[in-house]
């Protein structure tokens, strides 16, 4: 009981301590003798967490996108092509890749954010497909279907530096996204999502805020894209296809789009759990689908909302006997 009351009193400190432990554990993993294969999986998890979380940033302003991987592709291909064909250092081309993503994201946002809701989602889908088409048109450079390979690596063939780099990148990105969401900017985005008429009545330039949100979200996606390129060294048509965008959307939704931890939990669960059953080979998609259905039917707030859900369920059931009493009293008084 002592521990429980202590935890309740110092909720902030406890959660920071748990978070610090978790991050410390992740940083210590390679030294604890993590197998190279699992390190590879975790690097992927870190990258996709950035993408799924950035999709959630876009979702804050009420804009659901199913073409988010396209912006990852723009960053990835820019950086990959520049470093491969011009021989520039990956560090420079990564920055250029992010820059190009920012420019394209904002240019595209101006027409795209004129439509809302499901129409925006459709437009985002078309953009995703459009980027793939461009990829094929310029197949001389992008490799088209077969893709572009042997892109210069960032740190050579040892996986450990990539692990630390991607982990640090993810933490920085998540930190910035968390800060934005909990600032008044994040509040403004959420306000725009709820009612654009009310939002504009208090002076919010609703169109600009949605452009800003789109630009920021796509920038983070581009950041993940450039990190992806110089680790995997191979980009194909498949990598950033429509399926990828849907996957990212599913990571976010299964984890719980309403919570900051949602995409983080969702991505981790949906990449790591199927990986654990890898020996089942062709049954892996069924496991993926099984998790999906379970979450959709049983967890309205997603995987990350599960602790809250359990707590509420527990509270309801422990109080179950109480609400009956006042009704009895009313009955007595009436009699």
């Amino acid at each position: 009981m002592h521990i429980k009351s202590f935890l309740n009193q110092h909720k902030g400190i406890t959660s920071i301590a748990i978070l610090a432990l978790l991050i410390g554990f992740l940083f210590a993993l390679p030294r604890l003798g993590l197998r190279v294969y699992y390190m590879h999986i975790l690097i992927g998890v870190f990258i996709w967490i950035i993408v799924a979380s950035s999709l959630r940033v876009l979702d804050l302003s009420g804009q659901g996108s199913i073409g988010h991987a396209a912006f990852m592709a723009i960053g990835a291909y820019t950086s990959g092509i520049l470093s491969k064909y011009l021989g520039w250092s990956p560090w420079i081309t990564m920055l250029i890749g992010i820059g190009v993503t920012i420019i394209i994201a904002f240019l595209v946002a101006i027409p795209f954010t004129r439509v809302r809701g499901i129409y925006f989602t459709m437009v985002s889908l078309f953009f995703g497909i459009g980027v793939l088409a461009v990829n094929q048109v310029f197949s001389k450079y992008t490799g088209g279907y077969s893709g572009i390979g042997s892109i210069p690596l960032l740190f050579g063939y040892n996986k450990t530096p990539y692990y630390y780099f991607c982990l640090a990148l993810m933490l920085v990105c998540l930190g910035l996204m968390y800060r934005l969401e909990h600032s008044r900017i994040g509040l403004t985005w959420k306000a725009v999502a709820q009612s654009h008429t009310v939002a504009s009545s208090i002076g919010i330039n609703e169109a600009w805020q949605r452009i800003l949100c789109f630009g920021v979200a796509c920038t983070f996606s581009g950041v993940a894209g450039v990190a992806y390129t110089h680790y995997y060294a191979l980009l194909t048509q498949e990598t950033f296809s429509f399926g990828t965008s849907i996957n990212v959307f599913v990571y976010m939704t299964v984890g719980g789009a309403g919570l900051f931890a949602g995409p983080i939990v969702g991505t981790s669960a949906l990449i790591i759990i199927p990986e654990l059953f890898r020996h089942l080979k062709e049954y892996v998609p069924f496991i993926f689908a099984g998790i999906l259905l379970l979450v959709l039917f049983l967890m309205p707030q997603g995987l990350a909302g599960l602790p809250n859900q359990i707590r509420r369920w527990y509270e309801q059931h422990s109080k179950k006997t109480k609400p009956a009493e006042p009704v009895d009293e009313v009955a007595k008084r009436a009699a």
Binding site: L176, R179, L180, S183, R184, I185, G186, L187, T188, K190, A191, Q194, S195, T197, V198, A199, S200, S201, I202, G203, I204, N205, E206, L212
Partner: protein, 253 residues
Amino acid sequence: MLLEIHNLTKNFGGLMAVNQFSMGVAEGQIIGLIGPNGAGKTTVFNLITGVIRPTAGNVMFNGKDVTGNRPHTLASAGIGRTFQLTPLFTEFTTLDNVVASYYLHPRSSFWGAFFNTPTYRSNEAYVMEQSLKILDLVGLSKVKGERAKNLPHGYQKMLGIARALAVQPRLLMLDEPLGGMNTDEIVFTMDIMAKVRQQGMTILVIEHNMQILDLCDHVVAINFGQKIGEGTVEEVRGNPDVIKAYLGEQNAP
């Protein structure tokens, strides 16, 4: 005149929602805009605040022509408004509703939030303090942590006013602030309107509830999109056209 409207007209297809409507609002006054259901009162509000564009006519605010400006520019020019039906950010808490409404004063800066600058932090603290003050004024401090959609109707209306006040407008436009309120709440709301006026704000109010007339310096009556009467409360009360609009032909004196 703080706000001047000249021959404002709005045509929805064949329907004349507002027809050649003119009125003026002098600084520091409370002006009532009354009329039966469907008279075009809310349309006039929406035309003034830029939610819809007028077919003809113009709106001058503070000496500048603001006809057809977008709602957010009008808000930064100094027009705050409430809504009749969907007044709130329903998912936010009471407090967040007001904090979000402080968007303009001081302006929330993206890079400030990104890098957590000292200016940004002091602004944030200032906004929190001011929001709590406004909640105190409208008597909602006790429910500041509740979600807006869970509040009782009267509180939601009050929160709508609190939100409009956070914009720090020169002209406050209230769309049926008393609608659906009980007697205590009506007295309380009118009390706040009087307080706000004392602070130098001008108020333009649409209302069905005739109790509001006690507060108004000047009343404009509208029916079928046209002005049918204007003047002090007594003048409008005695205006045969107004009585006809409300009570019908036979009862007119």
